[in-house]
Amino acid sequence: MAKIIVVTSGKGGVGKTTSSAAISTGLALRGHKTVVIDFDVGLRNLDLIMGCERRVVYDFVNVINKEASLKQALIKDKRTEGLFILPASQTRDKDALTHEGVEAVLDELAKDFDYIICDSPAGIEQGAQMALYFAEEAIVVTNPEVSSVRDSDRILGILQSKSRLAEQGKSVKEHLLLTRYNPARVASAEMLSVADVEEILAIPLLGVIPESEAVLKASNQGAPVILDEDSEAGQAYSDAVSRLLGEDVEHRFLEQQKKGFLQRLLGGK
């Protein structure tokens, strides 16, 4: 039986797609058969970040409308064994995703996969609510910035009232993923710290992903940043995947790294 995890945020552009790509790749790398679904109807982008944009033939809405089988629509990742992508439709019809349709697709996927990662669109409207409705766990992607934190709190409210588990009187397991973190700016008190955001949102911390040039590079190449093992962002995502799997891993990259010349030369930590 698959575990359904939504990657959500409320606010747009905070790193949901980047995180969905990295985390699904990380899960597959650890041997868990994983599918990542793009719920951003009309604004398909996960395919670009995963580097499979030219292999999209059918999409999520085609499967729901029975114009294609799931097998035809799923794209097998070329780099990572056991990883599949279900691309979003580029239709402008906002009601293309129906509860029954999405549920049927998830049920079918659940037979074959260990993890189903749902990349939510921005906002708190129908699209975002559809992406989170069936989730058992939620990764709330937040930037250390006022509007992002506030929107994360609103999305938490929706998870606690409008998800399927909430309707059954149970609760979705919540994780905070703080991204685009800049330790230097936190040190000079210009940016909210991890502790500040944790205190306000009061949910367990899954990881802190530093602001990193490696993310842009990864998206340029269409290879999830977690595959860039030398980058801090890649390593931070890898740690987050470990924690998602229940391992106890210490947080890294929270402090400004001041490497000495020798340290750099010797490649010390």
Partner: protein
Amino acid sequence: MGILDYLLKKNKPSSSASVAKERLQIIVAHERSTRGQPDYLPLMQQEILEVIRKYVDIDQDQVSVQLDNEDDCSVLELNITLPDAK
């Protein structure tokens, strides 16, 4: 800590991150308290305000509408602060 340190600290404007944190704590607490309220509440509050304004001159923030759920019933609490009668 010396007196000088104390004075310096006191005069130092609060950091931009701490201003952000304070503002967030306030707005998030407010929004959590209104969470789960029916969607019609803000509009109803507005209409109540307009009715009262036909008779008395009051401001937006002088009317507060709060819905509390108790065991098997909901209580709608309406608080209106009227200005002193002239």
